[in-house]
């Protein structure tokens, strides 16, 4: 068991981070290359100013009209995305492991705060599931893959939460925690999670078309 844990805490972390970053980089290069080859007009219309203007406008909470029309979903989704990065990156236990591996460290969240925020992430994910069932237009669009993607995010947070509290089968929960975290990283470039790369690009393009050609706002 220890050698298995050594593998998933060592080489497997490297493998998943390399697939995650490498996959996204590969994807970005692929997109930029394909645009150059098949749709070079896109570059003619992209401007940095309008790209940033649009992305910026959509980053301001409740600034776009769309957000104000669906404030609950948008608010929860907004916080969820922040926590998705904040909690794992500023979790004391993770920082300890990184510190021991690379001798770098940064301030950590208080454990009980992190615990509460993790519960928040889990609650947000449950809200997303409920919304997929309950809101007809969202339900209409939903496919099995949407639930699988939610599950992929839910697993590391739920097992992390359980592992912290050590309620049950600690060793197994933690092993699943590590594996599911790695799974999430690995599938990001190959699933619709790649919107972390694509969304800024599509927003930037739309922002440029609106800003440059249409001279109108797109929020």
């Amino acid at each position: 068991m220890n050698s298995f844990i050594a593998f998933i805490m060592g080489p497997m972390v490297w493998i998943s981070v390399i697939i995650f970053l490498g996959g996204l980089t590969f994807k970005l290069v692929g997109i930029l290359g394909a645009v150059r080859q098949k749709e070079p007009y896109i570059y003619s219309y992209m401007t940095l100013k309008h790209s940033l203007r649009s992305i910026g406008a959509w980053m301001i909470p409740f600034f776009p009209r769309s957000a104000r029309m669906s404030p609950i979903y948008y608010g929860i989704s907004y916080l969820f995305h922040i926590l998705l990065f904040l909690v794992p990156l500023f979790l004391a236990s993770h920082i300890v492991l990184i510190n021991e591996a690379f001798q770098i460290s940064w301030p950590a969240l208080n454990d009980s705060v992190a615990d509460g925020l993790t519960a928040g992430v889990i609650a947000a994910l449950i809200f997303f599931v409920v919304r997929r069932f309950r809101v007809p237009e969202v339900n209409y669009l939903t496919s099995a893959m949407d639930y699988i993607l939610i599950l992929v995010v839910l697993l590391p947070f739920l097992t992390g939460f359980l592992a912290y509290h050590q309620w049950v089968a600690y060793q197994w929960i933690t092993v699943i925690h590590i594996l599911s975290g790695e799974l999430m990283l690995i599938i990001i470039p190959f699933s619709r999670f790649s919107h972390m790369l694509n969304a800024p690009l599509t927003r930037a393009y739309m922002g440029s078309e609106f800003g440059q050609v249409r001279q109108a706002k797109d929020w």
Partner: protein, 129 residues
């Protein structure tokens, strides 16, 4: 499967997982290290039996109570007359590259990995009180 059925299944699995956790939780009296040298320890002291480890180390104290000089391990010399924190300060310092917390973690965990036995995950040592 219909969406509503899938949802019920989802909730059921969640419920079972959480409830099992509560039932399995039981406090135990365990022999622990005393984290007195830490200013404000985030975790309870690690579960540790000194007697068991003396036996596992074949009475060779220097396996754990090591001595380093100029970054080199001095073999066959033991530091069992010192506290770990005598050498390992809380923060890295010029005369000590290895802070106390990392010293514990590396010493215990690496050995457990090397030997293929013993706890290696956070909560296996820092068992909740």
């Amino acid at each position: 499967m219909k969406y509503s059925n899938r949802f019920i299944l989802f909730l059921a699995v969640l419920f079972v997982a959480v409830m099992t956790g509560f039932y399995c939780y039981a406090g135990q009296d365990l022999e622990r290290l005393d984290p007195w040298a830490f200013e404000s320890p985030r975790r309870p002291g690690a579960v540790f039996s000194h007697d068991d480890h003396i036996f596992l180390a074949d009475d060779d104290c220097s396996v754990c109570h090591h001595v380093y000089e100029d970054g080199e391990l001095v073999s066959d010399e033991s530091s069992d007359d010192l506290y770990c924190s005598d050498c390992h300060s809380l923060k890295p310092a010029p005369d000590n590259p290895m802070p106390l917390e990392a010293a514990y973690h590396n010493l215990c965990r690496d050995c457990h990995f090397d030997r293929g036995e013993g706890p290696v995950l956070c909560g296996e040592c820092h068992v909740k009180e």
